[in-house]
């Protein structure tokens, strides 16, 4: 068996892995895992990733979890263009820095924005208090500003003149609040111009394809009660 990728494009790190593999013409079998149906909790999937999260990779007998690890594995195994993860020690360190930062910063804010604004009220049928929503959106606003001021600055891409893994991980993250109806690029011309550059570098069609699911998240049908009961504790743990 060749390379298999276990993904749900509703998930932001899955979108980054998907775009990266497609863009670099890495041959893989897509193994869809439907999070909203709780498919990541199955015993079969636990064989691939005992942490029960997507994305996950299987390459022959080798299994790997964690999006950053998967992206770097693909980068090294398939000898993709250098700009994604430069050989130059300092350029590479800046990509690593961003990839380390985003886990607790942009990831957290974007995930909470989507769940508090859309998934709780619509999918789970649990309204979120206005104060909570306001705090979530305020946090998002500050984190996005931080992305612009601290990482993008006046550069073409987040870590330098060319697109890297950092840009891919960041844009797929930001499309979460966009899917929730947040105007994250409004009033931020620099960030908006960056988004255009990233989309152009990735290719409009691939970008659109990867984001179809999230941009329709608002139309999710309500979860049935068993699924809701199954997912609720995990959701709460996830957005803590």
């Amino acid at each position: 068996m060749g390379l298999e990728l276990y993904l749900d494009l509703l998930s932001q790190p899955c979108r980054a892995v998907y775009i990266f593999a497609k863009k670099n013409r890495i041959p893989f079998e897509l193994r869809p895992v439907d999070l909203l149906k709780g498919q990541h909790l199955s015993d079969a999937f636990a064989q691939v990733n005992p942490l029960k999260k997507v994305p996950a990779l299987k390459d022959g007998n080798f299994t790997l979890a964690e999006s950053v690890a998967i992206l770097l594995y693909l980068t090294r195994k398939y000898k993709v263009p250098d700009h994604w993860y430069p050989q130059d020690v300092q350029a590479c360190a800046l990509v690593d820095e961003y990839l380390a930062w985003q886990h607790t910063a942009l990831r957290r804010s974007c995930l909470r924005a989507l769940w508090h604004k859309v998934m709780f009220p619509i999918f789970l049928g649990e309204p979120v208090s206005p104060e909570m929503l306001e705090a979530t959106l305020a946090e998002l606003d500050v984190t996005v500003q931080l992305l612009e001021d601290r990482f993008l600055q006046n550069k073409t891409f987040l870590t330098g003149p060319h697109i890297s893994l950092a840009d891919l991980v960041a844009i797929t993250e930001l499309m979460h609040p966009v899917g929730a109806g947040c105007q994250v690029f409004e009033g931020r011309p620099r960030l908006a111009a960056w988004r255009q550059r990233v989309e152009a570098a990735v290719g409009e069609d691939l970008f659109r394809e990867a984001h179809e699911v999230i941009l329709k998240a608002k139309d999710s049908p309500p979860a049935d009660p068993t699924i809701k009961q199954k997912l609720m504790p995990l959701v709460l743990a996830m957005i803590q």
Binding site: A65, V68, Y73, D96, E97
Partner: protein, 221 residues
């Protein structure tokens, strides 16, 4: 029904949600961690990788083998979500919050304790398994990152290793590898922190840092 973080309130003991002002204060808290000429780098994992590559340290720290390196990155990714943050909390509840007169509700302390136990179990089952070190038979950056975090609660009196012989043996292997002198030098200050607090040796944080501290405290789930 309203849902907050962990089904409760986000508030710290003041009962208020963190304000935008609080979030902004967070920005001031970005300290550069490594400076090499003009080059500035933050984030401990990025710094460790940079040092490994630049100074060509022994291969086991950051293995060049495709699969072995992937294991290190897998750990670092999981660590960022599950270890960092979680194991830093006891230092906040026991030392730093009291320092500025904030009491963290028992409910949160308990929740943190439960989360730590769950993460230690995952650490043992998914990463350590029956290996000598977290990502293989040799010590790597993953072990350093993990031990650093795990020692924080230990420093304030949580015995995380009790009843976990596999994890305790791993800790001993890592410490033995580092050598006790280096270990004491780097961990002396943190391991003494309770004593320092009892003796009121920790300086009171200046007011401009309070906002940041409140934010961190209010983010405790």
């Amino acid at each position: 029904m309203y849902f907050g973080i962990g089904g409760g309130k986000t508030s710290c003991s003041t009962g208020q949600l963190p304000s935008k002002e609080l979030f902004q204060s967070n920005k001031l808290w970005q300290v550069p961690a490594l400076k090499d000429g003009d080059f500035i780098l933050t984030e401990s994992s990025a710094i460790l990788i940079y040092l490994s590559s630049k100074y060509q340290t022994a291969d086991h720290w950051y293995p060049s083998d495709l699969w072995a390196r992937a294991r290190v990155h897998e750990y670092l990714g999981w660590h960022a979500d599950s270890i960092r943050g979680v194991f830093g909390v006891p230092l906040w509840t026991k030392v730093l919050a009291p320092l500025i007169g904030v009491h963290v509700p028992e409910e949160k302390v308990e929740r943190n304790r439960t989360t730590m136990a769950r993460m230690l179990q995952q650490l043992e089952d998914k990463f350590l398994e029956d290996r000598a070190f977290l990502t293989g038979q040799q010590v790597s950056l993953a072990d350093l990152m993990a031990l650093e975090e795990l020692l924080q609660p230990v420093a304030v009196g949580y015995d995380l290793f009790e009843g976990r012989p596999r994890l305790a043996a791993w800790r001993e292997r890592v410490e033995a590898f580092l050598g006790s002198d280096l270990f004491q030098e780097t961990h002396g200050p943190i391991l003494n922190i309770l004593e320092q607090m009892v003796n009121k040796q920790i300086p009171k944080p200046p007011p401009e840092v309070h906002l940041f501290m409140l934010l961190r405290i209010s983010n405790i789930p």
